[in-house]
């Protein structure tokens, strides 16, 4: 197709705007990374910069050399994310399977039971009091896994819609004639055919666990259970505390406090897995979001 001069000019203009947008979106991450490889003195003297005058890898060397607590927290985040995501997918797909069956008695009631949680909730105070006084999950591993993210009604509804629309009923029937029970159908028909939605929903659940710092804030004071986000949260709240109480800072042993570049390096390590996996998973994220736009 031959474009007129005006159209070509229009195209260039569109590209220019989008390039500017891309810079706005990406530049902050570059600043974060650059700060992590800036020499500490340069950082304090010249501030954060996209092109530092003096580079240094000492922040990363410091993390490797003395960062057993950092590596431990990193490992915790991996464990929390994997355990949480696996249980989440299992619970939501099993529930979505039942709701996708046409003739299930009581389906209407169960659907409403699931959907109503999207309209109304008790909020933090009752949830917190219930989990800590009845279920005693304070300062346990469960406190990081169970509240908030284990199952979302939205995901269940999206999965149900996907199962209904993309798994032919004949397959169910064929399976039933062969004497397959529901567990067999779920394992051999629903899971393989529902893989795309499982991947998308799993990514969102995994991301929620990877990025979460609130469960630890509410329920877990025990630092040995903390993930990387909680560690980062603690470091930045200490800084804020020092800024507001500058008289404390002088009395504090500043050498024990992680330097700016080390903090930025930890933050960068925290987002690294998302950054590395992103190009491969981008299309599943995009699909998952697009599914959400279609009403269940």
């Amino acid at each position: 197709m031959v474009l007129s001069k005006k159209q070509r000019l229009g195209n260039v203009f569109v590209h220019l705007i989008l390039i500017l947008l891309t810079v706005i979106m990406i530049a902050p991450f570059i600043l974060l990374f650059m700060a992590s490889i800036t020499d500490e003195k340069t950082l304090l003297l010249h501030g954060y910069a996209f092109i530092p005058t003096k580079f240094s890898l000492s922040a990363y060397a410091y993390i490797i050399k003395s960062g057993s607590s950092i590596i431990h927290a990193y490992g915790m985040t991996f464990v929390i994310t994997i355990v949480g995501t696996v249980i989440n997918l299992l619970l939501s797909s099993l529930l979505a399977y039942g709701l996708s069956l046409k003739d299930l008695p009581g389906k209407k009631f169960i659907s409403f039971f699931v959907f109503f949680t999207m309209l109304f909730n008790g909020g933090l105070v009752p949830t917190y009091l219930m989990y800590t006084t009845i279920f005693h999950i304070k300062n346990t591993f469960f406190g990081l896994i169970i509240p908030q993210f284990l199952l979302s009604a939205m995901n269940v509804i999206m999965m149900r819609t996907y199962f209904q629309n993309s798994i032919p009923t004949e397959l169910y029937e064929a399976c039933q004639i062969d004497g397959g029970g529901h567990l067999v159908i779920f394992k051999h028909v629903v899971l393989p055919l529902g893989k795309p939605i499982m991947v998308s929903m799993g990514l969102f659940a995994g991301l929620a666990y990877w990025n979460d710092w609130t469960n630890a804030l509410y329920y877990v004071n025990n630092r040995s259970l903390w993930g990387i986000q909680s560690l980062l949260n603690e470091m930045i709240s200490n800084i804020q505390y020092l800024n507001q109480n500058s008289n404390v800072a002088t009395n504090l042993n500043m050498s024990k406090f992680p330097s700016t570049s080390v903090r930025m390096a930890i933050a960068f390590i925290g987002l690294l897995p998302v950054l590395v996996l992103f190009p491969f998973l981008q299309k599943y994220f995009a699909k998952g979001i697009a599914v959400g736009a279609v009403k269940g």
Binding site: L91, V125, L129, L151, T214, R263, F278
Partner: protein, 315 residues
């Protein structure tokens, strides 16, 4: 099920039916139990807003106190501030993010090159995937007092003296709205791109044949086709207008007390009341207020849409 009255001929049939569906119910049970615990029990727990909580006797045995908690809450200035902030921020987010997301989606959809398209699309999505803790580190890199990029490199260029960002509350509405745009516009963009991709290209061809310019095609073809998605997304946001993202309002202003006037929302207020100040009564009253008004708003917004265009209602 009334098993007792089942006469003999029906009994085997019923048993068979139960036998057929029992495995399904068992498969669904774990998820339903979780929803019961995580979502339904706290709803019942909302009654503590009417109690004077005493931890030594336990919550259930704590004495009732009527509307005392609410009276305390609404006597303070806080009730007004948190309601105002929560509502105004949400309105701003809905307007800014909807308009910009549609605009960006239209521009990205214009791009023919596959690589360029993927790059732009990925770039707007990337911040959406980051944790708010990391976002607050990034914001701090720009705004911190002495070393921050803005104070150190940008303001001197413009001849403006340094600003103490973390103690000047008047700037925060803009900062929060911008950070929210940066972090979450990608979600809307992807939804609208999917919407635009679903438009039949023959509409555009016909419009082009009639001599419609690109701009006119957008106004008369693209936008009307996006209306259902716009309504659904806006409806979802209006339904949540009494809620705020705790992480955004707690983490990004770095929990700075001097910024509460413009950054305190219902969610941060409830958290601080419950866990930092130990004022369970006021926190639970604010939480009750949020749950109930929030619920009424979802129902109303859905009702209105149901009247105007029934196809777009959520339920």
């Amino acid at each position: 099920m009334t098993q007792k009255n089942g006469s003999l001929p029906i009994q085997p049939k019923k048993n068979k039916k139960l036998k057929q569906w029992l495995p399904v119910y068992l498969m669904m049970l774990p998820g339903l139990v979780y929803l019961f615990i995580n979502n339904y029990l706290p709803m019942a727990g909302l009654v503590i807003a009417f109690k004077k909580v005493n931890f030594s006797t336990g919550i259930f045995k704590s004495p009732w106190c009527g509307l005392d908690n609410f009276e305390f809450l609404f006597k303070t200035k806080d009730a007004f501030i948190i309601t105002r902030n929560t509502l105004l921020y949400n309105f701003a987010f809905i307007i800014v993010n909807t308009i910009l997301a549609i605009l960006i989606a239209i521009l990205i959809s214009e791009i023919r090159g596959k690589v360029a398209k993927t790059v732009y699309q990925s770039a707007v999505l990337l911040p959406f995937l980051m944790s708010y803790v990391i976002v607050s580190y990034i914001v701090y890199a720009f705004l911190s007092g002495d070393t921050g990029m803005i104070n150190h490199s940008v303001l001197p260029l413009l001849g403006i003296s340094k600003i103490d960002w973390y103690s000047s509350d008047k700037y925060w509405p803009y900062i929060i709205i911008f950070v929210n745009f940066w972090k979450s516009v990608g979600y809307g963009v992807l939804i609208y791109i999917a919407g635009i991709a679903g438009i039949d290209s023959s509409y555009y061809e016909a419009a082009a044949l009639d001599g419609a310019t690109k701009f006119k095609q957008v106004v008369h073809v693209t936008l009307p086709a996006l209306v259902p998605s716009i309504i659904t997304l806006t409806l979802l946001s209006i339904g949540r207008i009494f809620y705020s993202d705790f992480s955004l309002f707690y983490q990004v202003p770095m929990n700075s007390g001097m910024l509460y006037n413009t950054t305190q929302t219902i969610d941060t207020y409830v958290y601080r009341g419950l866990l930092t100040l130990g004022n369970v009564g006021m926190a639970s009253a604010a939480g009750f207020y949020q749950s109930c008004v929030g619920f009424i708003l979802v129902m109303c917004s859905n009702l209105i849409v149901k009247k105007i265009s029934p196809d777009n209602a959520l339920f």
